[in-house]
Amino acid sequence: MKKIGHLLAGVAMVGIAAGTGAAFADDGDVVLRLMPRHTDAHVENFNPYNYGGPSGYVQDFAYEPLWIYNVFHPDQDFPALATSYDISDDLMSVTYHLREGVKWSDGEDFTADDVVFTFNYSKEHPDFPIGFDHYNTETDSGSITGIEKVDDHTVTFTLNKPDSLAHYNIGIVFPLPEHIWSSVDDPKNFANVDNVATGPWTQITDFSRGSFQMCRNPYYRGNDENPIDCLMFPQLSGNEQVIAAITVGDLDWAGDGMTDPEITYTPKSEYNHYWLPPDGDTNLQLNTTKKPFSDLAFRQAMSMAIDRPTILEISTFGLTTETPYPVGTGKFFEAWFDDEALAPYKYLMEYNPEAAAAKLDEAGYTDQDGDGWRDNPDGSPIDFDMRVPSGWTDWVNTLQTVSENLQDIGVNAKLRTMEEGAWFDGYPTGDYDVYIMWGETHATPWFIYKSMFNPGSMIPGQVREQAMHQMRIPEIETLLEEIAATTDVSEQHAKMTEIHKLVAENLPVLSMFANPSWYQYSTRRFTGWVTPENPYVRPMMHGGVHERVKHALSLKPIEGAQ
């Protein structure tokens, strides 16, 4: 037996050698290999505001924002291009104190002029999604009215109304170098091949369809503490390839979907690790403009009829996280939950088909035409479908289970899988029954409820994905304004609890579970990874997770493993 074992080990070694082999001509550089995006071929585009792909590589790693919010630890944010910010007492402006001595990667100084330029540039090019929320006098929407350069390292943004939260949207903007972009007339089509930024890795090298590297910015202020010379982005597509690449050492950091990771991933290599902390909540958006979803009793019965433990364990393969309260957000915002105040609503999250059936009986939802399915109290039949993109298998499974649960209590609910594009085109109209929908994540839940209860997102023809329930709750709208008008954290928390209670009482959406944030890493070459024991930042490496640069900078190469 022993011999066979050795033999197999030998074959495995050959396989691994074939996988890595002379593929990487090592010239002594420390290279971190990561893959923020599946693609069939790399293209030379490093425009930080092109969300079609390049933003995932160059944001954060090359381009730095003013401020990096540490979503896991709001008291331990990371100053970036700004060292601090002040909110004025009247909450009508935000002032950023910029870091001194920062240079762009071509040697030019970074100053307040660059920030002012970026602001004005975004106003001149509304078709270029820099992300400043400009105030629009005509529609009375947006929040920032102007920018003022106080001195070379201080800028002040003025707001149209008191807003203690505006900095959340200003701080994450990536300033552009004026001396480069001022001559770019059509920024959305600009490929930005000669990347000039301030972050730790800016220099594009070894570009090919199969991979490219982004190496050390010679002018980066933290170069002495940064052991990683280059980030390497291999071109991969398909989960098996990504998992295999981690296993053989072609990849250090990934964020791919997994199935049964304890069988298909962890055993493949002693270095393979993963952690799936809860991400945003998945909700069922019920169209409350339609019968029977317009009736609270029906929505409550639906919520109680859903077998969430099965959905967690079976339909979503045990990779999702349970959501404790029916408030539309979940464990991602756990710190905001007032357990005592929300305990009375917990029953809505518990699987109780008998109570659900009883509730329907009581509310008059009985089978009146004898077809075996319950009907509306006015006698019209209940027959609705729940829509999901056909390729999103965990959600397909989820809705399958939900439809079984509802059918079990006599409600004729059907799963309807759709092609992604059709699913996407289907919701702005406001004409649908039920959609399964992701929930957003942000530094504070305020933004989540803002999109969920924004009346502007409920207009048929322009319905947006978080407000698909189309139920206006004026009290929540008021509470949201009140939260934005104070900097008192305990007051914000108290008002947030009020919002939670209002959602639980009205149930415009049914909370299901928290999606996993996908995070795989290999300890073959680096240590210092985020782990469940040491969750110092959000660990994912895809675009939009601004902390990822801090994660990368915290990694230490293992001696001799490079």
Binding site: E240, T259, D260, I263, T264, T310, I314, S315, F317, S390, G391, T393, V396, N397, Q400, T401, E404, L415, R416, T417, M418, E419, G421, A422
Partner: protein, 345 residues
Amino acid sequence: MTELTEAMPPQEAVASRPATPGRKAPSRAEIAAELGIKPPPRWARGLPRGLVAFLTNKKGMAGVIILTIIVMSAVLAPMIVPHDPFRRAGGPHVAPNAEYLLGTTRVGKDVFSQLIYGGRTSLLIGFVAGLAATVIGVFVGVAAGYFGGRIDEILSFFVNVVLVLPALPLIIVIAAFVEQASPLVIGLVLAVTGWGFAARTIRTQTLALKTKEFVLAAELLGEKKWRIVLMEIFPNMLSFVVGGFVLATIFAILAEAGLEFIGLGDPGAVTWGTMLYWAQRNLALEVGAWWEVWPACIAIMVTGAALVLINFAVDEITSPQLRASRGVGRVKAFLKARGRSVDVF
């Protein structure tokens, strides 16, 4: 069928001609005995010769029997399946046992029930799409080939357009109009895009038949054109039509499974294609749940094989020279003994 009857006479001709002077011609039964050819079984007497040829063709009958079993189990699915194929019936990835004959899927659906039910949809779509493509193909091909001229040009133009129609985007477009890429939609698209080859083949065949004496004779006799097409041309192409139908059906079953496998179908439907899709998405083989993968694979392969066997039989009956049996060797020996060149056979 004519080819069959044409192929028969040489034996009788040889038989009825005295091979050596003074020797009595052997009877048909004697030749058959010497050749080791079994007479058609008693039950087959009185049946049309073509049918008998098919019924006594081993490959064809094997195909028919396999296909019958598959079709019957699909038809009787509601009576056979122990569990609802659309719902969870047990724990995830339960290995095959007495209750779950072929185990369960990752979410706990019964694989055996899915297999039987999946066959229902897959076969139905395959046959319907195959039939539709064949019917359109024959209609267009015969019309183009026989009438020629302007009609041929217009029809050939459509054939060419169809030959380059992109099936994949078309499925998404059509599915968008009916809002779901159900197996029916896929079947429809396969039928619409799949008749080009049949039409081409049939057209060529019609062109060849058009020059045959019996067609010319019928034309000279003043037969109506549609009558010539129906009575003279079409029957002579029956083997091509049947063969074309079988091939179109295989193609449709495989294409449907393939499209669903790569995720263009409706994963809520139960077909062999979606079974493969789910097995692949859930990495069934990697986690050791072979029972989620193989049943659908084997079902598709066996169905394909059965249809191929039937196609073989059709080929062999319509052109007996293709028959790959040892009987041919015996006939050669027989003829050699009688002093006739074997090579002409």
